[in-house]
Amino acid sequence: MNFAIFLLALFDGIAYAALVFIVALGLTLIFGVMRILNVAHGSLYAIGAYTSISLTGYALSLGFAPVLAFPLMIVSAVLVGILIGAPLEKFLLRRIYDKSEVLQLLMTFAVFMILEDVQRLVWGTRPYFDSSALQLLGNVTVFGVTYTAYQMILLPLVAIALLLGMRFFLRHTVTGKLITATTEDREAAQSIGVDADKVFLFTFVIGAILAGLGGALASPTTSILPGMGADMIVLSFAVVATAGLGQIEGAALTALMIGLGRSFAVYLYPEISVLVPYLIMVLVLLVRPEGLFGTSGARKI
């Protein structure tokens, strides 16, 4: 492996880790607070990507500048959170919080299947591709290796900002503190007047927005086609489980591990590259079943 290939694998891995982390952050936040593993999170990612590319395409067709793609990504993410995430929590998940985990998993899996078909109904099965946001930011050359600024700079910056922002939000804002308290002990939080229903709805919408944002940010870098939601949910689950469910900082680190593992495998042993994230997960969970940063019993976010 020469130095140029090494750098390429490194940049690929970081860009990929950033995207997976953004999606995994939403997944682990939702799990940490409401103890539900939301399989439909993958659909929210895919719908975020479809929404973003459709809105951007429409804006471009009306003659707006390509730079509008960036605010439209945020708009798409918020739309996913409010139009799909909020009703999903309020009308469906709220009924199953006290049910068994198997039922919860089946329920969110059913939602995932339904949303997969909804995507086919709305956007069909042909792939979409629009990289105008990617091209807008141009390329960066490091040690002779040219890479897109979007993937090398923007994506990691957004991921780091979200990590720090989430940390600050949960520890230092009133709403965040109430979420953290509910996570630790729901009934103790309720007995001091925290409205757990509101906390759950709010948390789920934030988590859904993060899934949508992940999809929107991924949209200029890849073809958008059916099945992308399934790939992402499995991968972000691997990240979240390796870190320990509900562990936010841990998820950042394992996203990097899994992203880099996968991208180096692509260059070194392409035939096993798809397997690598799960190999990492299995190895970690064999040694530490609660995840790298998880503590058995206590719940933390």
Binding site: L170, R171, V174, K177, L178, T180, A181, E184, D185, E187, A188, A189, Q190, S191, I192, G193, V194, D195, A196, D197, A298, K300
Partner: protein, 226 residues
């Protein structure tokens, strides 16, 4: 100030509270005595709205039976459940402040109430910056009392506060309750306990709960005429 009318509550199919009818007047200090499993905790949880119950619960003459549970502390009810530890993600003072933040009290009011809590429990000032996860069980009970004081301007309900406290701490806790009583004569206190002797001389009314039924009782040992 608190009235229960024909309150029945069950967990699953097992009835826990049966036909409770009693009224507590403002400023009373009520000891709720009963063995483990008699229904003390369920009674407090029912008042807080965490247990589904039939009948009617009135607070200051208004029915709160249908009131959304998280809204109830806002009426001025402070509740310290048994065995509920502090939030380990926060410092001791952050733990105490949380109820005021949940109720969106303004800064001045929050500070006033924090001072009230520190007047009752001055030792908490020294541990204000410690993490909630590092305090001992006994200290945790003190912090939980301070937390209940933040919203408990009308009614404070303490569930088995002396349970598991070392004798010295139990004494200190009782002292803090007396300070509270001396500095705030209008607040109503309701304290559950399985050991009546701990509240002797402090409570001015005793309710005994036995198999889910409540009747007036006494804290004095049987056979005495005090």
């Amino acid at each position: 100030m608190l009235e229960l009318r024909d309150v029945n509550a069950s967990i699953g199919i097992i009835p826990i509270l049966r036909n409770l009818n009693f009224t507590i007047e403002q400023a009373q200090t009520v000891a709720l005595i009963g063995r483990n499993g008699a229904g003390k905790t369920t009674l407090l949880r029912t008042i807080m709205g965490f247990t589904r119950a039939s009948g009617d619960i009135l607070f200051d003459g208004k029915s709160i039976t249908a009131m959304h549970p998280p809204k109830r502390p806002g009426l001025g009810i402070g509740y310290a459940p048994e065995d509920r530890r502090l939030f380990s993600a926060f410092t001791v003072e952050e733990n105490i402040l949380l109820p005021a933040q949940a109720a969106r009290l303004d800064k001045d009011e929050t500070n006033r109430r924090l001072e009230r809590a520190y007047t009752v429990l001055p030792e908490l000032r020294d541990m204000a910056d410690r993490s909630g996860g590092t305090v001992s069980g006994g200290q945790g009970k003190m912090v939980a009392l301070a937390r209940a004081l933040m919203l408990g301007t009308r009614l404070i309900m303490l569930d088995e506060p002396f349970q598991g406290l070392a004798p010295a701490l139990a004494q200190r806790y009782a002292e803090a309750l007396r300070t509270l009583r001396d500095t705030d004569r209008s607040v109503t206190l309701m304290i559950t306990e399985s050991n009546p002797s701990l509240l002797r001389g402090f409570a001015d009314r005793t309710l005994v709960i036995e198999r889910g039924e409540v009747e007036e009782g006494s804290l004095e040992p049987e056979g005495t005429n005090a």
